[in-house]
């Protein structure tokens, strides 16, 4: 039985491979996106089983721009690159950060968005995320995060007191108690974890970190495609540039976030 199944599977794969080759040569009519739909607000499944989220909306906008059909395929994140290589879909659209290790296997589009690192401070404090503004102040970070590395790399030498905490909730607790003047974390975390809760009402997003010459925060988030499809990549890049230029991007962004997820470069 197992042997039969294996043969069947192999036959299917062979058929799929042969079927795909002419399809590639044909006019390009649809894009299949691989999505790990477990990561709201970026990608998740609605109760009725529809794909939804920031990434999914951006994907639909890209397809609309290219006048092609959009198909989403659910795929666990740990196996998402092998699945792309196996041609289960054409592109990865799953909050994937562009890293040198991944770039050896797949190509990345231009920037989709960036989860910026941002500073939270009390309303009216006038603090901004620069060493000069925070000099002599106390800033809380969670131990082991890139934000801790960032604060220790750039701010500690400039006279900012950087305090590491075992968990992000303790950072917020000490921000509320007044022990900390500000805290540094992922902007989505800051927004959903603190600012949108009742306790965070006296606090605001004091700004995103912009200067990172030593690149401790890593790269942006982008769409991944196979290395042998530069044409698709060029089309996607073109569509991303178009939706940013025509304001579609801003509209989708406003639906999910109250801050700029593209980073300073979009301004």
């Amino acid at each position: 039985m197992r042997k039969l199944l294996t043969t069947f599977a192999l036959a299917c794969m062979a058929f799929a491979a042969t079927a795909q080759l002419p399809a590639k040569a044909k006019a390009f009519t649809e894009i299949k996106f691989g999505v790990d739909a477990t990561y709201p607000p970026f990608e998740s499944l609605s109760p009725s089983g529809q794909f939804e989220g920031f990434d999914v909306d951006l994907g639909r906008a890209i397809c609309a721009e290219l006048k092609v059909k959009c198909v989403f395929v659910n795929q666990g994140f740990d196996g998402i690159i092998p699945a792309l290589e196996a041609r289960k879909f054409d592109a990865i659209l799953s909050s994937m950060t562009k890293t040198p290790a991944r770039e050896q296997q797949i190509d990345f589009s231009s920037e989709m968005y960036n989860e910026p690192t941002s500073l939270i401070a009390k309303k009216g404090s006038g603090l901004v995320p620069t060493a000069a503004s925070l000099k002599g102040k106390t800033v809380g970070v969670e131990s082991g995060t890139i934000q801790e590395t960032y604060a220790n790399t750039y701010w500690k030498p400039a006279g900012v007191t950087v305090v590491s905490y075992p968990g992000q909730d303790q950072v917020y607790a000490d921000l509320l108690s007044g022990r900390l003047d500000a805290s540094l974390q992922d902007s989505v975390e800051a927004d959903y974890g603190f600012l949108k809760t009742p306790k965070g009402s006296d606090y605001l997003l004091a700004g995103n970190v912009t200067s990172d010459p030593k690149d401790v925060l890593g790269s942006f988030i982008a769409i991944g495609v196979r290395k042998d499809e530069p044409e698709l990549l060029a089309n996607i890049d073109k569509a991303i540039a178009a939706i940013i230029a025509n304001g579609t991007y801003k509209k989708i962004e406003a639906k999910y976030f109250n801050f700029d997820v593209y980073g300073e470069s979009s301004k």
Binding site: S143, G144, N152, K156, P157, V163, S164, Y165, P166, A173, S177, G178, R179
Partner: protein, 234 residues
């Protein structure tokens, strides 16, 4: 392992370049807590054995509270709890004190070890030979002189082996310090772990450092026992 030692060696031993960390921080917590604990315990141990209930009861209560609750909870109450009280913010000296994580940690550790040490010393005082006390009384010693010359020197010597255990337990308790954001040995081990994803090497380095400090303490106390308890040698 070698990478971790090269990268985090300095932070493990004394400094991350700006603040005291690692072994230096752990030893500072231990020494400060034990000094506070010892200074509290000697007078309180005497009061603990008082004949008067009104003297005895508060000390009993202090020991009961601090030996009866986990140190972790005490640390949270002092670090997180105290600073959330409104009046603490309005008194500048209290505000200054409780704002600092290390002050809160030393206070909590000092009060905790003080309670245990009080019980240890009080027990040793209770066990003092009546004959020695009678002899001192017959020579006309006043009560302060009796304590200073006869009871305390004898009781503290006899308490030494038990007290050394308390100091080593206190060393192990310092691993809670990062709860109050104090960067002790364990915090550096966690840093090394999250940077390398190599838990075995990271925590093994921490374990070796704690073991070295423990052995040094044990060795020191053995020497002290040999000196102060020479009369017990066979």
């Amino acid at each position: 392992m070698i990478y971790i030692i090269q990268t985090y060696g300095k932070a493990f031993l004394y400094s991350d370049g700006y603040n005291m960390t690692g072994v230096a921080m752990t030893l500072w917590l231990l020494v400060a807590a034990c000094i506070i604990g010892f200074c509290l315990a000697v007078p309180l141990a005497i009061v603990r054995n008082s004949k008067h209930f009104l003297f005895r009861a508060p000390v009993w209560l202090y020991c009961f509270v601090f030996t009866g609750t986990p140190l972790y909870v005490q640390l949270l109450v002092i670090y997180t709890g105290m600073y959330s009280l409104e009046f603490v913010h309005h008194v500048p000296s209290l505000n200054q004190f409780f704002r600092s994580g290390i002050d809160c940690t030393i206070l909590a550790f000092g009060l905790n070890t003080g309670a245990y040490t009080t019980e240890i010393f009080a027990g040793a005082i209770r066990d003092t030979n009546f004959g020695e006390v009678d002899a001192a009384r017959s020579l006309g010693y006043s009560t302060p002189k009796l304590y200073r010359r006869i009871i305390l020197p004898s009781a503290l010597r006899r308490a030494l082996p038990v007290y050394s255990n308390e100091v080593i337990l206190m060393l192990h308790s310092t691993t809670l310090a990062f709860t109050a954001t104090v960067p002790d040995i364990l915090k550096i081990a966690n840093d090394a772990y999250s940077a390398t994803y190599n838990p075995f090497a990271s925590f093994t380095v921490a374990a070796i450092l704690y073991a070295c400090i423990s052995f040094t303490l044990i060795f020191g106390f053995r020497k002290a026992e040999g000196h102060f308890l020479a009369f017990q040698k066979r």
